[in-house]
Symmetry: C2
Subunit: 327 residues, 2 copies
C-alpha cells in the first residue's frame, strides 16, 4: 500500500498557472531533449473511425526529473452533439526511480493547454527579436489566448492583433487577451496587415491549407506555428519556411510527420533544421540578428508533459491540494 495523489482539473487550475515557473520547467525539458539522454518513444496513436474518435499517448523520461508522465489524450468528435467536450485526457505521473504511480492528474487537458502555451513562450524567448512591441495571433481559440498570455511573460509587448475566420470570435479573443494581460488588443480583418505590423506572430489554427503566406514575411519577424500536430495539417506556406533565415522545430521526427516540416519537405525543403532544445543549449545557433526572420514549429512533445506533470505535483503538494488514495 502506498499513497497516490489524485488531482482533479479544479485542483490543478487552483495551483498550476501559466507563469514564469511553468515556462522555466518546460524550457528545462527542451534543454534536456538536446542532451540526447531523454527517452521519448514515438507517439502511440489509435484512430477510431467507427466512433469518430482518436487517442494519442505521449511519454518521455527526462534524466533529472523526479517523475515521468504518461499522457492520454482522447478526441471524440461526436461529443459536442452530446453536450460534451471533444477533447479531454489525463496524465499519470510515475516515479522515475521506481516506476510506481505517484499521481493521477485528471486535468481534462488543462495541463496540456499550459505546457503548450509555455512552449510558445520558450520559443519566443529564444527566437523572437529582443524588442517586440506588437504581437499577432492567427486563430481565436483557447490557445490563441494562452499563447499570447505566455509570450507576454517573455516579451512584454504593448499591442496585440487577432485574426480569425470568424470576426466575432476574433473580437471576443482580443477582449479576453486585453483583460488578461492589460494591453491594447484588437481584432483585424486582414491577416497580411497583422503579420506586417507584428514582430511576433503565433498561429493557433487547425488549418489544412496555409494561413500565413510567404509574401507577408518581413525582417525582424518571428513566427511560432503551434497548430499542426497531425499529418494533413499545415499553417505556414512552405515558401515561407524556405524564405526564413531560420526554421526550428521542437522535435525533428515529429515536425516531419505531423508538423510544418511535412508540407515544407513535400514542397522540396531539404535542410535539416535545428531543434528548439539545441538552440536553448547553445549547441546550434539561433537568431543571429534583429532583422532575421525566424519560424518555430511546435508539434508538442512528451517531454513537455513530463515537465508540466512533475511541476503540477510539486505545486499541488505545496498547496495541499487534491486527495490521496492508498493503493
Amino acid at each position: 500500500m502506498r499513497d497516490i495523489s489524485v488531482l482533479t482539473e479544479r485542483d490543478l487550475r487552483g495551483c498550476v498557472h501559466l507563469d514564469r515557473t511553468a515556462v522555466d520547467v518546460v524550457e528545462q525539458a527542451f534543454r534536456a531533449l538536446a542532451s540526447g539522454k531523454v527517452v521519448m518513444p514515438p507517439i502511440l496513436s489509435m484512430d477510431l473511425p467507427d466512433v469518430h474518435g482518436e487517442v494519442d499517448v505521449k511519454t518521455a523520461y527526462i534524466p533529472g526529473f523526479a517523475g515521468f508522465a504518461i499522457k492520454v489524450s482522447p478526441g471524440f468528435f461526436n461529443n459536442p452533439k452530446l453536450g460534451l467536450p471533444s477533447l479531454n485526457g489525463l496524465m499519470i505521473l510515475f516515479s522515475a526511480q521506481t516506476g510506481l504511480v505517484d499521481a493521477l492528474l485528471l486535468d481534462n487537458g488543462y495541463l496540456t493547454d499550459v505546457r503548450t502555451a509555455a512552449a510558445g513562450a520558450v520559443a519566443a524567448q529564444h527566437l523572437a527579436p529582443r524588442e517586440v512591441t506588437t504581437a499577432g495571433v492567427i486563430g481565436t481559440g483557447v490557445q490563441a489566448r494562452l499563447q499570447i498570455i505566455a509570450a507576454h511573460l517573455v516579451r512584454p509587448f504593448k499591442k496585440v492583433l487577432v485574426w480569425g475566420r470568424d470576426a466575432g470570435k476574433a473580437t471576443a479573443c482580443a477582449r479576453d487577451i486585453a483583460a488578461a494581460i492589460g494591453v491594447e488588443a484588437s481584432a483585424t480583418d486582414d491577416p497580411a496587415a497583422l503579420v506586417r505590423d507584428s514582430q511576433l506572430v503565433v498561429t493557433t489554427t487547425p488549418a489544412r491549407e496555409p494561413v500565413l503566406k510567404a509574401e507577408w514575411l518581413h525582417p525582424g519577424l518571428h513566427i511560432t506555428a503551434m497548430g499542426s500536430d497531425q499529418a494533413g495539417k499545415n499553417e505556414i506556406d512552405p515558401a515561407a519556411v524556405a524564405k526564413a533565415d531560420l526554421f526550428v522545430c521542437d522535435r525533428l521526427s515529429q515536425s516531419e510527420k505531423l508538423g510544418e516540416l511535412r508540407s515544407a519537405r513535400a514542397a522540396g525543403f531539404k535542410p535539416v533544421p535545428p531543434e528548439l532544445g539545441e538552440i536553448i543549449a547553445a549547441a546550434k545557433p539561433g537568431r543571429r540578428a534583429d532583422g532575421d526572420i525566424t519560424i518555430c514549429d511546435l508539434t508538442g512533445t512528451g517531454a513537455q508533459d513530463t515537465a508540466i506533470a512533475t511541476h503540477a505535483l510539486a505545486a499541488a503538494r505545496k498547496a495541499g491540494a487534491g486527495a490521496v488514495i492508498q493503493a
Copy 2:
C-alpha cells in the same frame, strides 16, 4: 464534472476472480481480434537503462465493448533492493462512445495476472485434447499457479506436475495448486518426464533458452507458452514448433517480434500460423485429432486488457466496490 470510479488492487481482488466469466470475456476479445475490426496499435515500449527500468503501454478498441483500456506496465528491476515489487501498473478505462475516463483501475498488475491466466484457459479450451488427466507446468511463479487454476476450469484434470530450476519453489507451487483446486499436485525434478506424462503443459518462465525440447513431444499433447513477451525470450525449442501439427499465436505481429515465433523464424520456420481468435471464430482449423500435437504462444494483447478492464468495472459496480471521484 463527471464521476470516475477508482478501484484499488484490494477492491479489484474482492470482485474480479479468475473464473469462467473472466475466461469467457477474454475469449470474446480473442474472437473479436479475428474479426479484423479491433483497433490495436503496436505496444508503446520505453526502455530506461539508466534506472534499470522499462515501461510498456498497451491498448485496444474492441467493437461491442463499452470501454477501451489503456494499460501502463512499468517494470523497475532495482525495486526489490528497495523492498518494492519490480512489476506494477494500472489500467485506465475510457468510454468507447465518448473517450471520457470511466475508471482508474489501480490494480498493481492483478488484472494482468487474471487476463493472462484466462488467455491460457482459452487456449486450452480450444486446443488441448478433449481428455486431459495430467497437466504439467514449467515455472514456479504466480502465473504457474494461475495458469493451472485457469486451465482446470476448462479441462478438469486429476493431477498436476510442476518443474522449476528451484526444487523448493516447485514444491511450494505444487502445494499451492493442490490447495487451490483440490487435485493431486507434485513437484518433479525431470521436465522431460513432466511433458511425457502430461496432455497439457504450460510454460511460464522468463527463459532465454528453450526449457521445452522437441524430443519430449508426444501425440496428444498441447503446450501453451506464455513466458515470452520480449525479444530475447524463448521457452520452446524451435524444432518443437516445426514438429508440432499446429502452432498458434495470440497475435502474429507480436509473436514474431516478442514471442516464440521469433526464435522459430530465426531457425527457419516459414509457415504463417493462425491466431487463436481465428480458431475460436472457426475461420481457421484448430486441433484435428486427439493425437495432434499443438502449441499456442501467448505474448499478451491489449485486447485482453480491454476485456478484463471492462469486466472489472462491471463487477465492481455490481459489488458496490471502490470510490468515486468527481473530475
